[in-house]
């Protein structure tokens, strides 16, 4: 039937893009037909977001052509893409907290009447849009800053919808949405579909992909490895395409029972604004995987344990001693380290040298760990660590911003290792890191566990989660939805994460 379908709304041919030498996209072909929901799936770092940003004019491709509505286009800025009729819902929010919902929704394309911004139109227009996705409860004239994350996500979507786009890009649109909101989103997407709008839909949630899409393109390591008609594709097939390799061969061996040491970390009945009733135990030598959808509380858990967004209730003990993790500093002193998912914003100091970045923590909390040693010794140790993590850089004086994602992550790791932490918290340790470096990081994580550290690893990347973890807990709505033993399947995880095992299987 594909023959009968109209000519493509969007056609990407041989799109290639590199950042600082890292090849992120490589000869990607992709077509979206009017009224089609085209899902793009793939591991984190497979290049999905970059591809979307190329289409939206945020990035310009190094090679390849973008064809929109039958004409070859080169979008030099988001503005041009928007004017051409391409809307995008970004993964990270692009809202101004100080401005009202309406002002955000209409930013850049405020409705005019006699050359002036037509406030009434703006408000009513926004109200309609909100109503159209069943979010009429959000008043268009409240400051976005006053809304919760989920509501902000809705606004983000509405913002993209606002410019009657012919092609709408949705990059993890349901990330922060509650289930009922998700259903409304479905309805919305279908409505768009009927209006002949093409939708590029990026998601981790297989369920959504199968519920919504007409076709699916699988990205892997920057290449489009397959485009499938959803109708005649099964979840297993899709997963195979996505992973497309024997898991075990890619991940270091798991901990053997005798390698597991004493309990390092216990959490009892802990919670805060984002988490409720958290109970968990973490043993020396083990890697505890934390799964769940974005916004399910998996990152919040790591941040709470690190004191960045502390628990307000419950007890935490480290090596049986009760600790109060009020601040990162307190956590660090308790022997906890944290590798954030936001490397640029929370991991590195881009304009400082490799050495300075690696020394940052030791310098900050001299009193703990081997930091007490003389500066010379300390620096020497950090140099060893940088070597140990097999950092590839021009030298220890090179500015970190010139390193690849993988090497930046290694620097961050070295920073923490310098404190010889007993507990390491990883949030998406390999996000935005190319495959080569990934396994290096994985090996490091495992080696740390073997050396007696207790590791908690948050990952939205199922293969990684399954491949690395000795045990997996899955988060949903700020709670621990369930725990899985090593060797669980992706479907098991998704089932717990989405809370509907049957459907999850597709």
């Amino acid at each position: 039937m594909s023959g009968l379908l109209p000519s493509p709304l969007l056609a990407l041919r041989g799109i290639g893009k590199s950042f600082l030498g890292v090849r992120v996209l490589d000869g990607v072909d992709l077509q979206v037909r009017p009224g089609e929901v085209h899902a793009v799936v793939g591991e984190n770092g497979a290049g999905k977001s970059t591809l979307m940003k190329v289409v939206a004019g945020v990035h310009q491709p190094d090679e390849g052509t973008v064809e929109f509505a039958g004409a070859p286009r080169t979008f030099r800025s988001p503005r041009e893409a928007r004017q051409a009729g391409i809307g995008i819902v970004y993964q990270e929010l692009t809202l101004l907290p100080e401005r009202t919902v309406a002002e955000n929704v209409c930013l850049g394309r405020e409705p005019l009447r006699r050359g002036l911004v037509d406030r009434r139109a703006m408000l009513s227009h926004t109200a309609e849009l909100l109503a159209s996705i069943g979010e009429g409860s959000i008043p268009p004239d409240t400051r976005v800053g006053r809304l919760g994350v989920a509501q902000q996500q809705v606004v983000e979507i509405v913002k993209a919808l606002a410019l009657d786009a012919r092609l709408l890009i949705m990059d993890e649109p349901t990330a922060a949405l509650a289930d009922h909101e998700v259903d409304q989103l479905y309805a919305l997407v279908r409505r768009l579909q009927e209006q002949g709008i093409g939708v590029l839909y990026v998601s981790h949630r297989l369920k959504e992909v199968f519920d919504l899409s007409t076709r699916i393109t699988v990205l892997k390591d920057g290449r489009a490895v397959a485009t499938l008609d959803t109708a005649d594709t099964s979840a297993d097939q899709l997963v195979r395409h996505m992973v497309g390799r024997e898991l075990s061969s890619y991940y270091p061996g798991r901990a053997k029972p005798q390698e597991l040491g004493p309990v390092r970390l216990t959490v009892r009945g802990a919670g805060n604004r984002k988490l409720r009733g958290i109970d968990l135990r973490l043993r020396a030598g083990e890697v505890l995987g934390v799964g769940g959808l974005q916004g399910s509380g998996r990152s919040a858990l790591a941040r709470a344990l690190f004191g960045a967004a502390p628990f307000s209730t419950g007890e935490v003990t480290v090596d049986r001693a009760p600790v109060r993790l009020r601040s990162p500093r307190a956590a660090i002193r308790a022997g906890i380290a944290y590798v954030s998912e936001d490397r640029k914003g929370e991991g590195i100091v881009a304009e400082q040298s490799v050495l300075d970045n690696a020394l940052l923590a030791v310098r900050a909390v001299r009193a703990v760990g081997p930091g007490r040693a003389g500066r010379g010794a300390r620096t020497a140790r950090v140099r060893e660590l940088l070597a140990a993590v097999e950092l590839r850089a021009a030298g220890e004086d090179q500015e970190v911003r010139f390193l690849s994602g993988g090497n930046q992550q290694k620097v961050v790791l070295a920073r923490w290792l310098a404190l010889a932490p007993r507990i390491l918290l990883f949030d998406e340790p390999t996000r935005g890191i190319d495959v080569g470096a990934k396994s290096a990081i994985h090996d490091l994580v495992r080696r740390l566990a073997r050396d007696g550290a207790a590791v908690l690893m948050v990952s939205s990347e199922l293969p990684e989660l399954l491949g690395m973890s000795d045990r997996i807990i899955v988060m949903r709505d700020g709670r621990i939805a369930g725990e899985l033993p090593a060797g669980a399947s992706e479907e098991d995880v998704v089932a717990l994460a989405v809370g509907t095992a049957r459907e999850a299987a597709g």
Partner: protein, 323 residues
């Protein structure tokens, strides 16, 4: 909250007006006890005149600050404007309009330079506008030995001294300009985009806003306001005065008024209504201390404290909002 209110103005914290009322109330009591009269017509007129000059500059300053920038060259723009105006008029009413036109053109040009230095040349606004200020200072020092030119009598009588009841024409001008600025911020794309650029340039960009263009426009408008202030001062002084801007500390005081009005120095939050409040607050302090014949140095100290305290309060609120 109805839609009509959902605008920058609504976000202006009333704090400054509370402070204003309190100041006036307390001031009035103290002055009365001291045997003076705070709200006598001449005192009120003087207060409003002082407010008018500073206010015009501060309204313009508000725009650049909302955009996340800063203009420290305004004091010199003011001085220059008085001279351009007065010298072009040379006491001739006929030359009135051309003179005002020329003055505004000159200041707009300076604003353009500021804007381009900040956006195109990517120079930090602080350095850029201070640098431009130095250029102007050199020109003024070199070219003028003191007051020069003669303002058209018509302007002196009207803008300079005419008043409606206790309200000077100049203050009405300020209100008009402030209203216009409020309108621009609330009802034009430029206004909306300015808040976006000040709030988060990247978000603005992703939303298709042309950041540089917006910021340059803001700088031009700011300079225009300074130019207008110059015209007013020329009408008040009857001549051009090469130092009136720096003596009036218009650069410093305009920023003080802006932050007192609740506009965030970081940009993206605030509005002109608050600024007008800030201006009136500063002017009232002036008036009260005048009545009490308080030492100006003491006043200086008080001002320093008030400015810091005010911003600290706003910062607290912002934090509470955030949490």
């Amino acid at each position: 909250m109805s839609g009509a209110l959902s605008l920058p103005a609504r976000r202006t914290p009333p704090g400054v007006f509370v402070a204003l009322v309190l100041t006036l109330a307390i001031g009035w009591i103290v002055v009365t006890v001291d045997g003076g009269r705070l709200f006598s017509v001449p005192t009120t007129v003087s207060l409003l005149h002082v407010a008018a000059g500073l206010g015009l500059v501060a309204v313009g300053q508000t725009l650049v600050v909302i955009g996340g920038s800063l203009d420290l060259s305004v004091a010199y723009v003011v001085s220059l404007s008085t001279l351009v105006a007065a010298e072009t008029m040379a006491g001739d009413d006929g030359a009135l309009l051309p003179a005002i036109g020329l003055t505004l053109a000159v200041s707009a040009a300076i604003g353009l330079v500021n804007g381009l230095l900040v956006t195109t040349a990517r120079i930090n606004p602080f350095i850029a506008t201070v640098g431009v200020g130095l250029l102007l200072k050199g020109y003024l020092d070199n070219g003028y030995d003191g007051p020069a030119g003669k303002t058209a009598p018509a302007l002196v009588q009207s803008l300079g001294y005419q008043r409606v009841g206790p309200v000077p024409l100049s203050f009405l001008l300020l209100l008009a300009v402030a209203a216009a600025a409020w309108f621009v911020l609330a009802r034009t794309r430029f206004g909306h985009h300015l808040f976006a650029v000040g709030g988060d340039p990247e978000v603005a960009r992703l939303s298709g806003v042309r950041g540089s263009r917006v910021l340059v426009t803001a700088h031009v408008l700011c300079a225009l306001c300074a130019g207008l202030a110059g015209v007013y001062l020329a009408s008040r002084l009857g001549a051009g005065a090469p130092r009136v801007g720096t003596e009036g500390l218009y650069d410093l005081e305009s920023i003080a008024a802006v932050v007192l009005g609740g506009t965030a120095l970081a940009g993206g939050r605030g509005g002109v209504v608050g600024t007008v409040g800030g201006v009136l607050l500063l002017a009232s302090i002036d008036a009260i201390f005048n009545q009490l014949e308080v030492d100006v140095f003491f006043k200086q100290v008080i001002r320093g404290v008030i400015i810091i305290a005010a911003v600290a309060v706003y910062a607290r609120r912002a934090m509470r909002k955030a949490s």
